[in-house]
Protein backbone atom coordinates (compact mmCIF):
# COMPACT_ATOMS: atom_id res chain seq x y z
CA UNK A 1 0.00 0.00 0.00
CA UNK A 2 1.40 3.39 -0.85
CA UNK A 3 0.47 6.70 0.66
CA UNK A 4 -0.87 8.23 -2.51
CA UNK A 5 -3.73 5.74 -2.80
CA UNK A 6 -5.06 6.44 0.67
CA UNK A 7 -8.32 8.24 0.87
CA UNK A 8 -9.16 7.39 4.45
CA UNK A 9 -7.20 8.21 7.61
CA UNK A 10 -5.12 5.37 9.05
CA UNK A 11 -4.06 4.56 12.55
CA UNK A 12 -0.44 3.73 13.31
CA UNK A 13 -0.90 0.11 12.23
CA UNK A 14 -2.10 1.28 8.84
CA UNK A 15 -5.74 0.39 9.49
CA UNK A 16 -8.42 2.81 8.35
CA UNK A 17 -10.11 4.38 11.37
CA UNK A 18 -13.27 6.27 12.07
CA UNK A 19 -12.20 9.86 12.73
CA UNK A 20 -14.42 10.58 15.69
CA UNK A 21 -15.53 7.29 17.19
CA UNK A 22 -12.42 5.98 18.84
CA UNK A 23 -11.39 8.95 20.98
CA UNK A 24 -11.66 8.41 24.73
CA UNK A 25 -14.65 9.90 26.55
CA UNK A 26 -12.41 11.92 28.86
CA UNK A 27 -9.01 12.89 27.50
CA UNK A 28 -7.55 13.98 30.86
CA UNK A 29 -8.50 10.63 32.46
CA UNK A 30 -7.02 8.87 29.45
CA UNK A 31 -3.76 10.87 29.52
CA UNK A 32 -3.32 10.55 33.29
CA UNK A 33 -4.29 6.87 33.30
CA UNK A 34 -7.26 7.35 35.63
CA UNK A 35 -9.48 4.24 35.66
CA UNK A 36 -13.25 4.40 36.21
CA UNK A 37 -14.03 3.55 39.83
CA UNK A 38 -10.53 4.45 41.04
CA UNK A 39 -10.00 6.81 44.02
CA UNK A 40 -8.83 9.55 41.67
CA UNK A 41 -11.92 9.17 39.46
CA UNK A 42 -14.06 9.63 42.58
CA UNK A 43 -12.12 12.77 43.50
CA UNK A 44 -12.48 14.18 39.98
CA UNK A 45 -16.23 13.53 40.19
CA UNK A 46 -16.35 16.07 43.06
CA UNK A 47 -15.55 18.70 40.40
CA UNK A 48 -17.83 17.23 37.75
CA UNK A 49 -18.62 20.53 35.97
CA UNK A 50 -14.93 21.31 35.61
CA UNK A 51 -14.21 17.78 34.41
CA UNK A 52 -17.03 17.79 31.85
CA UNK A 53 -16.28 21.26 30.53
CA UNK A 54 -12.55 20.67 30.25
CA UNK A 55 -13.53 17.81 27.94
CA UNK A 56 -16.07 19.95 26.07
CA UNK A 57 -13.32 22.53 25.57
CA UNK A 58 -11.02 19.87 24.11
CA UNK A 59 -13.68 18.65 21.70
CA UNK A 60 -14.72 22.17 20.66
CA UNK A 61 -11.07 22.94 19.91
CA UNK A 62 -9.89 19.70 18.30
CA UNK A 63 -13.06 18.13 16.91
CA UNK A 64 -15.26 21.17 16.16
CA UNK A 65 -18.75 20.38 14.95
CA UNK A 66 -18.40 22.80 12.06
CA UNK A 67 -15.35 22.81 9.81
CA UNK A 68 -13.66 26.21 9.76
CA UNK A 69 -10.65 27.54 7.88
CA UNK A 70 -8.61 26.23 10.84
CA UNK A 71 -8.77 22.57 9.79
CA UNK A 72 -8.80 19.61 12.15
CA UNK A 73 -5.41 18.53 10.81
CA UNK A 74 -3.94 21.98 11.58
CA UNK A 75 -5.49 21.92 15.05
CA UNK A 76 -4.02 18.50 15.78
CA UNK A 77 -0.65 19.59 14.34
CA UNK A 78 -0.51 22.52 16.77
CA UNK A 79 -1.60 20.11 19.53
CA UNK A 80 1.23 17.70 18.75
CA UNK A 81 3.75 20.56 18.61
CA UNK A 82 2.62 21.96 21.99
CA UNK A 83 2.54 18.51 23.64
CA UNK A 84 6.08 17.93 22.36
CA UNK A 85 7.26 21.27 23.77
CA UNK A 86 5.91 20.16 27.17
CA UNK A 87 7.73 16.78 26.91
CA UNK A 88 4.52 15.13 28.12
CA UNK A 89 4.71 11.61 26.70
CA UNK A 90 1.04 10.66 26.96
CA UNK A 91 -0.17 13.92 25.40
CA UNK A 92 2.48 13.67 22.69
CA UNK A 93 1.30 10.17 21.70
CA UNK A 94 -2.34 11.21 21.85
CA UNK A 95 -2.07 14.31 19.67
CA UNK A 96 0.16 12.41 17.27
CA UNK A 97 -2.61 9.83 16.83
CA UNK A 98 -5.14 12.63 16.46
CA UNK A 99 -3.02 14.29 13.76
CA UNK A 100 -2.43 11.21 11.63
CA UNK A 101 -6.12 10.31 11.75
CA UNK A 102 -7.05 13.61 10.08
CA UNK A 103 -7.05 14.06 6.31
CA UNK A 104 -3.64 15.47 5.38
CA UNK A 105 -2.28 14.85 8.87
CA UNK A 106 0.15 12.07 8.02
CA UNK A 107 1.99 14.37 5.64
CA UNK A 108 2.56 16.88 8.47
CA UNK A 109 3.56 14.43 11.22
CA UNK A 110 7.33 14.17 10.68
CA UNK A 111 7.84 17.91 10.19
CA UNK A 112 5.79 18.85 13.24
CA UNK A 113 7.64 16.34 15.45
CA UNK A 114 11.01 17.61 14.19
CA UNK A 115 9.93 21.19 14.92
CA UNK A 116 8.74 20.36 18.43
CA UNK A 117 12.15 18.85 19.13
CA UNK A 118 13.91 21.89 17.64
CA UNK A 119 11.78 24.21 19.78
CA UNK A 120 12.56 22.53 23.13
CA UNK A 121 13.61 24.87 25.91
CA UNK A 122 12.51 25.81 29.43
CA UNK A 123 10.01 28.45 30.45
CA UNK A 124 8.54 30.75 31.43
CA UNK A 125 11.00 33.43 30.32
CA UNK A 126 10.55 36.89 28.87
CA UNK A 127 10.88 40.60 29.59
CA UNK A 128 8.84 42.99 31.74
CA UNK A 129 8.12 46.63 30.89
CA UNK A 130 11.14 48.78 31.84
CA UNK A 131 11.09 49.39 35.57
CA UNK A 132 11.62 47.62 38.87
CA UNK A 133 10.67 44.22 37.40
CA UNK A 134 13.42 44.42 34.76
CA UNK A 135 15.74 42.58 37.20
CA UNK A 136 13.43 39.56 36.74
CA UNK A 137 13.81 39.55 32.94
CA UNK A 138 14.89 36.13 31.73
CA UNK A 139 16.18 35.59 28.22
CA UNK A 140 15.45 32.55 26.12
CA UNK A 141 15.54 31.39 22.53
CA UNK A 142 13.45 32.95 19.79
CA UNK A 143 11.88 30.17 17.74
CA UNK A 144 11.20 30.71 14.04
CA UNK A 145 10.09 28.21 11.42
CA UNK A 146 12.71 27.98 8.64
CA UNK A 147 11.71 29.02 5.09
CA UNK A 148 12.00 25.49 3.68
CA UNK A 149 9.67 24.26 6.39
CA UNK A 150 7.13 26.95 5.52
CA UNK A 151 6.93 25.17 2.16
CA UNK A 152 6.00 21.90 3.92
CA UNK A 153 3.61 23.29 6.52
CA UNK A 154 2.16 26.19 4.57
CA UNK A 155 2.40 29.81 5.78
CA UNK A 156 -0.62 29.63 8.12
CA UNK A 157 0.50 26.57 10.06
CA UNK A 158 4.12 27.77 10.13
CA UNK A 159 3.00 31.08 11.66
CA UNK A 160 0.80 29.16 14.12
CA UNK A 161 3.76 27.10 15.37
CA UNK A 162 5.86 30.23 15.92
CA UNK A 163 3.00 31.78 17.87
CA UNK A 164 2.44 28.58 19.88
CA UNK A 165 6.11 28.54 20.91
CA UNK A 166 5.79 32.14 22.14
CA UNK A 167 2.65 31.34 24.15
CA UNK A 168 4.07 28.16 25.68
CA UNK A 169 7.48 29.47 26.75
CA UNK A 170 7.47 33.28 26.94
CA UNK A 171 3.92 34.61 26.93
CA UNK A 172 4.90 37.86 28.64
CA UNK A 173 6.86 38.82 25.49
CA UNK A 174 3.68 38.79 23.38
CA UNK A 175 2.90 42.02 21.50
CA UNK A 176 0.41 43.24 18.91
CA UNK A 177 3.13 42.57 16.30
CA UNK A 178 2.84 38.85 16.96
CA UNK A 179 -0.89 38.95 16.16
CA UNK A 180 -0.20 41.03 13.05
CA UNK A 181 2.23 38.30 11.91
CA UNK A 182 -0.63 35.78 12.15
CA UNK A 183 -2.99 38.07 10.24
CA UNK A 184 -0.31 38.63 7.58
CA UNK A 185 0.10 34.85 7.23
CA UNK A 186 -3.59 34.48 6.37
CA UNK A 187 -5.33 34.11 9.75
CA UNK A 188 -8.48 36.13 10.44
CA UNK A 189 -9.53 37.54 13.83
CA UNK A 190 -11.77 34.61 14.76
CA UNK A 191 -9.07 32.15 13.70
CA UNK A 192 -6.53 33.92 15.93
CA UNK A 193 -8.96 33.66 18.85
CA UNK A 194 -9.43 29.92 18.28
CA UNK A 195 -5.70 29.31 17.81
CA UNK A 196 -4.90 31.25 21.00
CA UNK A 197 -7.54 29.28 22.92
CA UNK A 198 -6.23 25.99 21.57
CA UNK A 199 -2.63 26.62 22.63
CA UNK A 200 -3.61 28.15 25.98
CA UNK A 201 -6.07 25.32 26.66
CA UNK A 202 -3.33 22.74 26.08
CA UNK A 203 -1.10 24.47 28.64
CA UNK A 204 -4.00 23.86 31.06
CA UNK A 205 -4.86 20.31 30.03
CA UNK A 206 -1.24 19.11 30.06
CA UNK A 207 -0.69 20.61 33.54
CA UNK A 208 -3.83 18.96 34.92
CA UNK A 209 -2.49 15.68 33.54
CA UNK A 210 0.94 16.27 35.13
CA UNK A 211 -0.66 17.18 38.44
CA UNK A 212 -3.12 14.29 38.53
CA UNK A 213 -0.42 11.83 37.49
CA UNK A 214 1.74 12.97 40.43
CA UNK A 215 -1.26 12.67 42.74
CA UNK A 216 -2.08 9.21 41.41
CA UNK A 217 1.36 7.92 42.40
CA UNK A 218 1.00 9.52 45.83
CA UNK A 219 -2.30 7.89 46.75
CA UNK A 220 -2.14 4.77 48.93
CA UNK A 221 -2.53 1.44 47.20
CA UNK A 222 -1.14 2.54 43.83
Amino acid sequence: MTLDVLDRPLNREGVAVNITAHWPADWIDHLAGIEPGSPLAALRAEREEARRNAQRSAEALFLPAEETVFSRAERAAVGLFVAGLHRQAAAFAFYRDLLISQPGGLELEAAVIAESRRGLTEGPYGAYPDGPLSVENRSGPLYRVTPDLVAVLGPRLAAALSHAHLLVFHPRDATADHLQALLDAGWDTTGVVTLSQLVAFLTFQIRVVSGLTALKYSLPGV
Binding site: F204, R207, L215
Partner: protein
Protein backbone atom coordinates in the same frame (compact mmCIF):
# COMPACT_ATOMS: atom_id res chain seq x y z
CA UNK B 1 -7.58 42.23 2.53
CA UNK B 2 -5.39 41.37 5.50
CA UNK B 3 -6.88 42.47 8.83
CA UNK B 4 -4.96 44.88 11.04
CA UNK B 5 -4.37 44.80 14.78
CA UNK B 6 -5.36 47.70 17.03
CA UNK B 7 -2.43 49.61 18.55
CA UNK B 8 -2.36 52.04 21.49
CA UNK B 9 0.89 53.98 21.12
CA UNK B 10 0.01 56.55 23.80
CA UNK B 11 -0.98 54.13 26.57
CA UNK B 12 1.61 53.64 29.34
CA UNK B 13 1.98 50.02 30.47
CA UNK B 14 1.81 49.18 34.18
CA UNK B 15 5.35 48.16 35.17
CA UNK B 16 4.81 46.61 38.62
CA UNK B 17 2.51 43.99 40.15
CA UNK B 18 -0.33 45.74 41.96
CA UNK B 19 -3.68 45.12 43.65
CA UNK B 20 -5.05 48.31 42.04
CA UNK B 21 -7.69 47.97 39.31
CA UNK B 22 -6.17 47.93 35.83
CA UNK B 23 -7.88 48.15 32.46
CA UNK B 24 -7.24 45.88 29.47
CA UNK B 25 -7.21 46.89 25.80
CA UNK B 26 -7.72 44.27 23.05
CA UNK B 27 -5.37 44.11 20.04
CA UNK B 28 -8.14 42.55 17.91
CA UNK B 29 -11.70 43.78 17.42
CA UNK B 30 -14.16 42.39 19.97
CA UNK B 31 -17.51 41.39 18.51
CA UNK B 32 -19.84 44.42 18.62
CA UNK B 33 -22.75 43.96 21.03
CA UNK B 34 -25.18 44.47 18.14
CA UNK B 35 -23.73 41.37 16.42
CA UNK B 36 -24.48 38.97 19.32
CA UNK B 37 -26.65 35.99 18.37
CA UNK B 38 -28.21 33.52 20.80
CA UNK B 39 -25.24 31.25 20.24
CA UNK B 40 -22.89 34.05 21.31
CA UNK B 41 -25.05 34.83 24.35
CA UNK B 42 -24.84 31.17 25.39
CA UNK B 43 -21.09 31.43 24.96
CA UNK B 44 -20.88 34.41 27.31
CA UNK B 45 -22.77 32.47 30.05
CA UNK B 46 -23.16 35.69 32.12
CA UNK B 47 -24.97 38.49 30.20
CA UNK B 48 -22.86 41.07 32.09
CA UNK B 49 -19.78 39.80 30.26
CA UNK B 50 -21.05 41.58 27.12
CA UNK B 51 -19.49 44.72 28.70
CA UNK B 52 -16.01 43.18 28.75
CA UNK B 53 -13.80 43.62 25.64
CA UNK B 54 -11.89 40.48 26.67
CA UNK B 55 -14.96 38.23 26.69
CA UNK B 56 -16.42 39.97 23.63
CA UNK B 57 -13.23 39.06 21.76
CA UNK B 58 -13.23 35.45 23.00
CA UNK B 59 -16.94 35.07 22.13
CA UNK B 60 -15.93 34.98 18.47
CA UNK B 61 -15.53 31.24 19.20
CA UNK B 62 -18.61 30.80 21.41
CA UNK B 63 -18.45 27.01 21.90
CA UNK B 64 -14.93 27.23 23.27
CA UNK B 65 -15.70 30.26 25.44
CA UNK B 66 -18.76 28.63 26.98
CA UNK B 67 -16.93 25.42 27.90
CA UNK B 68 -13.99 27.44 29.21
CA UNK B 69 -16.20 29.68 31.36
CA UNK B 70 -17.99 26.70 32.91
CA UNK B 71 -14.62 25.07 33.64
CA UNK B 72 -13.41 28.30 35.25
CA UNK B 73 -16.50 28.71 37.46
CA UNK B 74 -16.38 25.18 38.88
CA UNK B 75 -12.63 25.36 39.53
CA UNK B 76 -12.86 28.66 41.40
CA UNK B 77 -16.36 28.69 42.94
CA UNK B 78 -17.21 25.07 43.79
CA UNK B 79 -15.77 24.92 47.30
CA UNK B 80 -17.70 21.81 48.40
CA UNK B 81 -15.33 19.73 50.60
CA UNK B 82 -12.42 21.61 49.10
CA UNK B 83 -9.97 24.48 49.15
CA UNK B 84 -11.02 27.90 50.50
CA UNK B 85 -11.83 30.59 47.91
CA UNK B 86 -8.89 32.69 49.15
CA UNK B 87 -6.45 29.82 48.64
CA UNK B 88 -7.68 29.25 45.08
CA UNK B 89 -7.05 32.92 44.41
CA UNK B 90 -3.56 32.53 45.86
CA UNK B 91 -2.96 29.75 43.29
CA UNK B 92 -4.26 32.03 40.50
CA UNK B 93 -2.22 35.04 41.66
CA UNK B 94 0.94 32.96 42.17
CA UNK B 95 0.63 31.43 38.69
CA UNK B 96 0.09 34.91 37.20
CA UNK B 97 3.13 36.20 39.13
CA UNK B 98 5.33 33.43 37.67
CA UNK B 99 4.09 33.83 34.10
CA UNK B 100 4.31 37.61 34.41
CA UNK B 101 0.66 38.53 33.80
CA UNK B 102 0.41 41.86 35.63
CA UNK B 103 -3.29 42.22 34.73
CA UNK B 104 -4.34 38.71 35.91
CA UNK B 105 -2.25 39.03 39.06
CA UNK B 106 -3.97 42.32 39.92
CA UNK B 107 -7.46 40.83 39.66
CA UNK B 108 -6.74 37.65 41.60
CA UNK B 109 -4.56 39.33 44.22
CA UNK B 110 -7.55 41.59 44.94
CA UNK B 111 -9.83 38.54 45.18
CA UNK B 112 -7.34 36.83 47.52
CA UNK B 113 -7.38 39.94 49.73
CA UNK B 114 -11.19 40.16 49.69
CA UNK B 115 -11.59 36.54 50.77
CA UNK B 116 -8.70 36.36 53.25
CA UNK B 117 -8.58 39.96 54.59
CA UNK B 118 -4.79 39.55 54.47
CA UNK B 119 -3.80 42.34 52.12
CA UNK B 120 -0.17 42.53 53.29
CA UNK B 121 0.41 38.80 52.82
CA UNK B 122 -1.02 39.06 49.29
CA UNK B 123 1.14 42.11 48.58
CA UNK B 124 4.25 40.18 49.68
CA UNK B 125 3.52 37.62 46.95
CA UNK B 126 3.27 40.42 44.38
CA UNK B 127 6.35 42.32 45.61
CA UNK B 128 8.74 39.47 46.35
CA UNK B 129 7.34 36.63 44.27
CA UNK B 130 6.72 33.06 45.43
CA UNK B 131 9.52 33.16 48.02
CA UNK B 132 7.81 36.14 49.68
CA UNK B 133 4.90 34.00 50.90
CA UNK B 134 5.35 33.11 54.59
CA UNK B 135 2.16 31.38 55.76
CA UNK B 136 2.95 27.64 55.43
CA UNK B 137 -0.32 26.71 53.68
CA UNK B 138 -0.18 29.62 51.27
CA UNK B 139 3.52 28.96 50.64
CA UNK B 140 2.78 25.33 49.75
CA UNK B 141 0.00 26.44 47.38
CA UNK B 142 2.21 29.11 45.78
CA UNK B 143 5.21 26.81 45.37
CA UNK B 144 3.07 24.04 43.86
CA UNK B 145 1.57 26.59 41.45
CA UNK B 146 5.05 27.72 40.48
CA UNK B 147 6.25 24.15 39.86
CA UNK B 148 3.21 23.39 37.75
CA UNK B 149 3.68 26.61 35.76
CA UNK B 150 7.19 25.72 34.61
CA UNK B 151 7.54 24.20 31.14
CA UNK B 152 8.14 21.33 31.16
CA UNK B 153 6.16 20.93 34.37
CA UNK B 154 8.47 20.73 37.38
CA UNK B 155 5.60 19.32 39.43
CA UNK B 156 5.92 15.88 40.99
CA UNK B 157 5.22 13.68 43.99
CA UNK B 158 7.38 15.93 46.20
CA UNK B 159 4.97 18.79 45.55
CA UNK B 160 2.05 16.54 46.47
CA UNK B 161 3.84 15.63 49.71
CA UNK B 162 4.49 19.31 50.47
CA UNK B 163 0.81 20.16 49.97
CA UNK B 164 -0.30 17.20 52.09
CA UNK B 165 2.29 18.17 54.70
CA UNK B 166 0.75 21.65 54.86
CA UNK B 167 -2.58 20.01 55.71
CA UNK B 168 -4.30 19.84 52.30
CA UNK B 169 -6.65 16.94 51.58
CA UNK B 170 -6.51 15.08 48.25
CA UNK B 171 -9.49 17.07 46.93
CA UNK B 172 -7.88 20.34 48.06
CA UNK B 173 -4.73 19.29 46.19
CA UNK B 174 -6.86 18.77 43.05
CA UNK B 175 -8.27 22.28 43.57
CA UNK B 176 -4.71 23.67 43.62
CA UNK B 177 -3.76 21.70 40.48
CA UNK B 178 -6.91 22.87 38.68
CA UNK B 179 -6.51 26.49 39.78
CA UNK B 180 -2.85 26.79 38.79
CA UNK B 181 -3.40 24.90 35.53
CA UNK B 182 -6.39 27.06 34.65
CA UNK B 183 -4.37 30.24 35.14
CA UNK B 184 -1.80 28.98 32.69
CA UNK B 185 -4.69 29.09 30.22
CA UNK B 186 -5.97 32.50 31.35
CA UNK B 187 -2.55 34.19 31.58
CA UNK B 188 -1.70 33.26 28.00
CA UNK B 189 -4.92 34.72 26.61
CA UNK B 190 -4.65 37.96 28.59
CA UNK B 191 -0.96 38.41 27.78
CA UNK B 192 -1.24 37.70 24.07
CA UNK B 193 -4.56 39.21 22.96
CA UNK B 194 -4.22 42.69 24.46
CA UNK B 195 -2.44 44.87 26.98
CA UNK B 196 -3.04 46.13 30.54
CA UNK B 197 -3.51 49.84 31.07
CA UNK B 198 -3.48 52.10 34.14
CA UNK B 199 -6.98 53.25 35.06
CA UNK B 200 -7.40 57.01 35.27
CA UNK B 201 -8.07 58.02 38.89
CA UNK B 202 -11.82 58.39 39.36
Amino acid sequence: MTEQVIRYPAQPEPAVFTQEELGWLPWLDPLPESALTDRHRDGLVDPSRAKSPYFMLLVRDPEVLEARTRTDKDIFYNTRNGLLRAEREVAAAATSRVNGCIFCASVHARFATVHSKRRDDVQALLDKGISGVEDPRWAAVARASEALTETPAGFGTRDIQALAGAGLSDLEIIDVINGAAFFNWANRLMLSLGQPVEQAAA
